[in-house]
Homo-oligomer: 354 residues x 2
């Protein structure tokens, strides 16, 4: 029976969680929900399904130590370092090439390292069903998120007919992948009941993704081949064109299936999302990170500050208050998206802050 491998993609470096996230300290290393960093939560979510020895992590070379510190169970040979980020296409191809050498008849589960997915048992059951489907059909399988509102910030997957069931999970053929839609379009999608959000979660046989890389990403295949013959990864990887796996492979492959996630999933895209993935106090305030929060007539606020700090809120409502790494941020929840503007200004005006 083909073994199951996991690939955690942990190379991102977002700015939307400034000042807690920094270029050298990205979101996946933050504690956003639960007691551990997002990457440690992602790792633990696989316990019981995939043994640590078969979990790979792909990350930026600059984040090697952060990953080692966050994941003490990670075997050194399972840490795959990208010299630079080239989006998910080359990242997945690189990880797959490592697995292909080690276990060519395996099945791979590809996971972003910075999402909240709960409960873990439900997620493992979905992954197991998806792996069974990938194994049996040889199709490229993706996990779609059952949409709960007409989001304009995600891509969508349109499902076609059901091809059968795996361990109680409906499996559908994929009709098409759709880029982030405008609001009206998103509302239409929601009404049809056929669309899911594109989560970036994939399950496939190693031989299937290897074939797809050769067919749809020939330059990447060539680079990986040359690398395996001893050329330096660094120069080869830098020369690659960044491309998402969705665009490079999923939109073009013929055999694609989707299973749906209809439990809690959150990509926690900005500070305001902390309210959705953490318990609130009696006044609707959410505190994350370990700081002591004292409030007087404060409601619906989100606080993120490390243990040992104190945050006091008096008479304020629906604010995000963050203190981290010598910086303090105050912004209404509804404007949390604007944090990136501040980061851009800080980078431009005072390069030292990121």
């Amino acid at each position: 029976m083909s073994e199951l491998y996991a690939v955690l993609m942990a190379g991102g470096s977002g700015t939307r969680f400034w000042p807690a996230s920094r270029r050298a300290w990205p979101k996946q290393f933050l504690t956003i929900a639960g007691e551990r960093s997002m990457i440690a939560e992602t790792w633990a979510r696989l316990d019981g399904l995939i043994p640590p020895a078969r979990r790979l992590v792909v990350t930026a070379a600059s984040q090697e130590q952060l990953v080692r510190d966050a994941l003490p169970e990670l075997a050194p040979e399972n840490l795959v370092l990208e010299p630079v980020g080239r989006n998910t296409g080359p990242c997945i191809a690189l990880a797959s090439s490592v697995i292909a050498r080690r276990a060519p008849d395996s099945v791979q589960v590809i996971l972003p390292a910075d999402h909240v997915i709960r409960p873990a048992e439900s997620f493992r059951a979905t992954l197991a069903a998806a792996a069974e489907e990938a194994r049996a059909s040889g199709a490229l399988v993706t996990l779609g998120i059952r949409p709960t509102y007409p989001a304009t910030g995600f891509g969508y997957i349109e499902a076609a007919e059901e091809t059968g069931r795996r361990a109680g999970h409906a499996v559908r053929r994929v009709a098409r992948f759709v880029e982030k839609p405008p609001r009206a379009k998103a509302e239409e999608f929601l009404k049809t009941g056929r669309f899911c959000w594109n989560s970036g979660l994939f399950v496939w046989r190693t031989d299937a993704i290897e074939r797809a890389v050769s067919e749809f990403m020939p330059a990447v295949r060539d680079a990986l081949d040359r690398m395996s013959r001893g050329e330096s990864l660094d120069a080869l990887y830098r020369a690659l064109t960044p491309v998402a796996i969705d665009v490079a492979v999923m939109e073009r492959a013929s055999e694609r299936r989707m299973l749906a996630i209809d439990y809690e999933w959150n990509d926690v895209g900005s500070w305001d999302a902390l309210a959705a993935v953490n318990p609130a106090d009696a006044h609707g305030n959410v505190a994350v990170g370990g700081a002591a929060v004292v409030s007087e007539d404060a409601h619906g606020c989100i606080v993120h500050a490390p243990a040992g700090q104190v945050v006091a809120l008096i008479g304020v409502k629906d604010l995000v208050v963050v203190h981290a790494h010598g910086a303090t941020l105050v912004v209404p929840k509804e404007r949390a998206q604007d944090v990136k503007k501040i980061v851009e200004r800080l980078e431009k005006e005072r390069g030292e802050f990121l």
Copy 2:
């Protein structure tokens, strides 16, 4: 000609500037307006009028090092330490006894160390005029602040007839001292034109205040006498009843005069007062303490954080945002008075924070 001495009273330990002020780091050591701590500003305000060698500081024994650090010009023999705080009555009597031994025919200027008074030249001119009046008349002289609004947070001084002018300053007899009035009363006071705010600024001959201490604070006189005969200040001082100089002496003395301050005076009673004593940016935001402040659509805010810190404000209005000593405070300006509630709760619930 009798020499002029200054007594800076620096013993206070307020909670209204938490988290920047702490029990062990009170307001007078904060930079609130200008480039230096309030006590250093108070000290510098005397330059040209009273030489450093004739400036005394009375403070709590626990704040000795803070005072020395803040005032490098302060002569060691001019630092008077109170074992405990007993309000301004005993504090002034203690300082005066030191001056009386050194220069019995001198004139004293008594100043709180945590007020903003500008311009310094005007203040020195008023002090010089008050000293001339005290010297010539032997009266206890106080400086009243010409009220700009019907404040309910200050005591008032009612002036009687003008007794003459000193260096261009009108000198009036004092009719009475009035405790903090209710709003309606304060409005009446303002209308009469006869009332000034009680600033806690006094000027008097050393022999005059020494006589007043003997007459109105006999227990304090006795303690100071016993101390001068070798008894321990500590036990004697602890046994004294706390009393303000206004209540103990000024309300009861017969020869009292007042000169008015009609330029900038601010006792900076809480965070919102920073807006009145500091320049604002184009959006009405005031930043004090040295932190880098970046704002996007933020208006009328007050920021206090030390150099090296960054504070980012997005889409907020009329907020006070403070970061100091591992704590962050966010409160609307109009509720800045409520900071003491938070401090009381922190003291009660988690004694370690103050």
